[in-house]
Amino acid sequence: MSSPAYHAPETIEQAVALLAGDTGARPLAGGTDIIVQMRSGRSAPSAIVDLKRIAGIGGVRPLPGGGFAIGATMPCTSLKDDAALAAAWPGVVEAANLIGSVQVRNRATLAGNLCNASPAADSVPALVAAGATCLVAGPHGERVVPVADIPAGPGRTSLAPGEFVVEIRLPPQAGADAYLRATPRTEMDIAVVGVGASLALNADGICTAARIAVGAVAPTVLLVGDAGAALVGTRLDAAALERMADAVRAACRPIDDKRGTAEYRTAMAGVLAGRVVKIALERAGSKA
């Protein structure tokens, strides 16, 4: 088997040209998935386009009007070092820092976790709950796409040939967020279920907006609209939380595998949804 070419472009335009000019080329950010896939033979790219030499792509910047843009090659551990980001979106930052080990998180990125398109990706339910979007660059220019629209199925994305994710954009925080996952082990494990929640409350403690997203219970991460709707207009009392959990369970269509049965995943999705909404509520309350 021949070795792929290696390119380290310094601009987005050069990266797009390299990716668009070779349908077998794959972008490289942290490499914690693609290098494993290359070594196992699951993936045999004809070229590797290392994005890390592109100026400005490895950091986080505040967006005008609030919110944050997180560059495609920013490692998960660096997210914790940005105090403003970690205070505004603790659920996203914590979710990214459940992936693998410190060694892995020093390389792994949000954009890579998204584009690897694992149904069990930890950061994706948190990003979808947050209403995050991504800036995609490609041969026909740039476009902004909801994070939820990127995964198309296990290992597949909706990105067109030559396109790659340049940055992930989080909106201004209007409340609080949280993420929880269930794993058989404490560390170094893959989510059997993961749930992200993002809430906003008014001054009277009434929920004005809620987004609940669930991972590892379907081919892609699910935004459960009915679950969020069950919370809006309530004080997040026990009855509202139960209706929310019912909606989450109803949306689940998991597989059975060695890490959990479909029945267990569905039951746990409801349990975790209740817990994660309580954490987000506590965080939103302490800010008010």
């Binding site: 290696y6 494993v36 390389r107």
Partner: protein, 163 residues
């Protein structure tokens, strides 16, 4: 496919080597530079035996492509001791018997040093979480954790003596 020429810094020394584009940093260290302290346990980022520092952050060298380290700073287990004088973490591993077969030890020591460089006084639980990406199939971890905590205590004392 022609080989790439990579210029980098390893343990403070300039290094140049030729590699295929998909060579891992681990293979370049072991095969091209003769630095065989870093080990390959799994080759998939699960075991941490290949842990090195890349620009001051610990990474699995099996999950880094060698061309990526062009112009960057790499530190391996070979850069931990000062000549023949062991680093306190290495000495404490010996004193506590924190190794049996020794295959995982270089990775544990690089990772433990990365922890103590940023947190001189970690709790036992912080040590265990930090080292979760380093697997040892012999010791059961207790002696490793004790060696790291003891090394931390000694390093804190040394620092006080200097101050």
């Amino acid at each position: 496919m022609s080989k790439l020429l990579v210029s980098t810094s390893v343990n403070g020394d300039p290094q140049q080597f030729l590699c295929d584009p998909d060579t891992t940093l681990l293979d370049a260290l072991r095969e091209e530079m003769g630095l065989t302290g870093s080990k390959e346990g799994c080759g998939s980022g699960d075991c941490g035996a290949c842990t090195v520092m890349l620009d001051g952050r610990m990474v699995c060298s099996c999950l880094v492509l060698a061309p990526e380290v062009e112009g960057r700073q790499v530190t391996t287990i070979e850069g931990v001791a000062e000549g023949s004088r062991l680093h306190p973490i290495q000495r404490k591993f010996l004193e506590h018997g924190a190794l049996q077969c020794g295959f995982c030890t270089p990775g544990f020591i690089v990772a433990a040093k990365a922890l103590l460089d940023r947190n001189p006084d970690p709790s036992e639980s912080e040590v265990r979480y930090w080292l979760a990406g380093n697997l040892c199939r012999c010791t059961g971890y207790d002696k490793i954790v004790r060696a790291v905590l003891d090394a931390a205590a000694e390093l804190r004392q040394d620092r006080r003596a200097v101050a």
